[in-house]
């Protein structure tokens, strides 16, 4: 089966996120009120051939641990779709 995996890698809480801040300011300047706490990270989408959703998820987690997220600065989360 081919599963579609959506991964989200964001700067760890507490770490400075200048890009998120810049966007927050830009939103305010555009008149969007009530928007805050903006964090910007990477969205990674990929297809994984695996026997089950669990296997696809396990594989994706390993990809995150080894390559897709930097353990020093980033957290990740993922969703597997059939």
């Amino acid at each position: 089966m081919t599963y579609r995996v959506h991964i989200r890698v964001v700067p760890r809480a507490g770490l400075l996120d200048p890009q998120g801040q810049a966007v927050e300011h830009a939103l305010a300047a555009l008149g969007f009120e009530g928007a805050g706490d903006v964090r910007i990270g990477r969205a990674i989408e990929l297809a994984i051939d695996a026997r089950s959703a669990d296997a696809a998820e396990a594989s994706a987690r390993e990809m995150c641990e080894r390559l897709l997220a930097n353990p020093v600065t980033e957290d990740y989360s993922l969703v597997v779709e059939a």
Binding site: A22, V23, H25, A26, A29, L30
Partner: protein, 767 residues
Amino acid sequence: MTAAAPVTRASSFPGERPVTLDVVREHNLTASEFDRIVAMLGRTPTLTELGVFSALWSEHCSYKHSKPVLKRFPTTGPQVVQGPGENAGVLRLPNGWAVAFKIESHNHPSAVEPYQGAATGVGGILRDVFTMGARPVAVLNSLRFGPLSEPRNRYLFAGVVRGVGDYGNCIGVPTLGGEVGFAEGYSGNPLVNAMCVGILRESDLATARAHGVGNVLLNVGAKTGRDGIHGASFASEELSEKSEARRPQVQVGDPFTEKLLLEASLELITSKLIVAIQDMGAAGLTSSSAEMAARGGVGVEIDTGLVPTREAGMTPYEILLSESQERMLVVAEPHQVAAIQAVCRKWELDATPIGHVTDDGLFRVKHHGLTVAEIPGQPLVDDCPVYTPNAREGAAAIARRKARPRRAARVDADEALEALLDTPSIASKRWVYEQYDSTVQASTVLGPGGDAGVLRVATEPFALAVSVDCNNRLVGLDPYEGGKATVAEAARNVACTGAEPLGITDCLNFGNPEKPEVFFQFREACRGISDACVAFGTPVTGGNVSFYNESPTGAVDPTPTVGMVGLLRRAEDRVPSHFRAVGDRIVIVGSSEGAMGGSAYWAELCDFIGGAAPRVDLEHETRLQQFLVAAAAARLLRSAHDCSEGGLAVALAEAAIGGPYADRGFGAVADLRTYAPALSAIEALYGEDQGRVVLSVAPAALPGLRAMLTRHGLQGYLAGEVRAPGGELEIVLPEGVHRWPVDRLRAVYDDAIPRRMRGISTDRPEA
């Protein structure tokens, strides 16, 4: 015209639309151009063939409105190794070295997507240079935008600068200089011109001439996608709301792949594994294969079914016209294919045979064996109709030269200097060039921030100086004098560093040439460029024409950008543009009549663009250049700075403010009471007479300098001296003394662009 029997044979690709007059019009071809195609083939073209014609007969590829004018450029000289006609021009340097260089526009793509448009513009010009067998050693960029008061212009500016930077930085080619201008006329149609300079051993020169029947055509580099289909014809029409909708899918640059392609190409060329090479630029596979064949007088046959594609189901039409980036077409003898593929594999690239050279002179395209296009090759490339549009100067343009400002400046003579230094077109461009890696390759002798960039060549004693310039305001006012002034300024910038001007490349950005007043500007500007190039002995080695730079509000200012390359015989003789030592004497060379026509003062402070453009005395300019080169070689100069926008006051201020990383500027005094006794303060300070430079000279070198000036038939005016850092710029005029704290000038000059760009997202459009 009716044809007796088909000259060539081709079948429609299954599913292709039939060719109707509507379809012809959609392809930006006229009815008479279509007739010519039918006559050439002896039948109606297939849609694929029509696509091929529309690309090669687009303005961008065919130069159909500019050819006769361009033919008049001087293109020869003892230093010319390769003139116009190849991917880049090449000039001879000492000790077996040569320099390849070329400039190109990417205006339309940048108007739609500034980041990718600019990035792929840099990518394209780099490929033009390394396909000559030259290693790129410098990038320059010439940019024009509407005023920064408009959010859209700020977004375009930010995106273009980031795009230029990201591409060059990643490849590892220093961006050594450029220019940026802002004027109303560019709102809606920014100009993005990129120039690349490369170095090669003359013996390694490669060409884009296919020959050798049976030789193999290889597709090297990135896979082909559906990007930028019809980019060449898109670049050949005016921007309108409609073009927004029918814009080709944006081309995305991949500088990493380009870096691999650069290394692989140079390895293929220097190891003599290939016969010819050309990059797939505008009109992609079509123009590269047809042009290489036509240059070599041979035919080619390619099978688009063999071209590696990024997406399934691409038609031959799409594959032929795709402008996917980072691809090369290589011609090689069959027995070298394996060796070529090994080199490419080392650089993690694919090299795929897709066709061969034939002896029938035809441009033939198959798709998995089915012939979908077959066109006589030479006529395809050469027989596009050539037009000589009417040229007539507009009445408004004539009137503008006779006009005077209707109102006084909004500030006084003293405040005017700060106001001019605060003008984005004049202000420090640090905000721009600090986003460009200017020191990679460890060869930068003088980086951005001065009159020209200077880089050393390998371990040789000599260096190259490079500059791009265009005073679009003068060209708009008086295209002939403006054309001359543009070459003169580029040459002067190069000569100020001590380098001898060698040759130019040009990027001619104009509006719709079918408008008589636009074609007049074009023709006259080119005449001015030609005359200046003849006078300076700096041939035109190539360039690019970009017409149809129009937005709904009209044509852009005529902007014929000139890229100049000069030779500095000893790198360590390089002359910076800023004052360097207290007590040095300030000398002005060149006289002033207080030329206010087309000046920044009138434009920025009186909202008036007009008056008579200053005349450029080519004979004086030549002597001035020769003097600068000789004086640098004799080590007489501590600094030399060209007077351009903003006149003498701005030039003195810039020299005093110091280089971008000077700890502090110098004070300076210049007494102009006998330099220009008859002029008003405004004329003396802000007049933009051509042919002038501001020098600083150690007191002990003054006698030598005087002798050198005399030898070149020039007069120098000893105006004053450099004073302690932290002081004032003091200019003494008959009517009084003007003083400005240099720290204050420097703060204004440095912050003019940053303060306008604060908080601008470089990522996405602002609303």
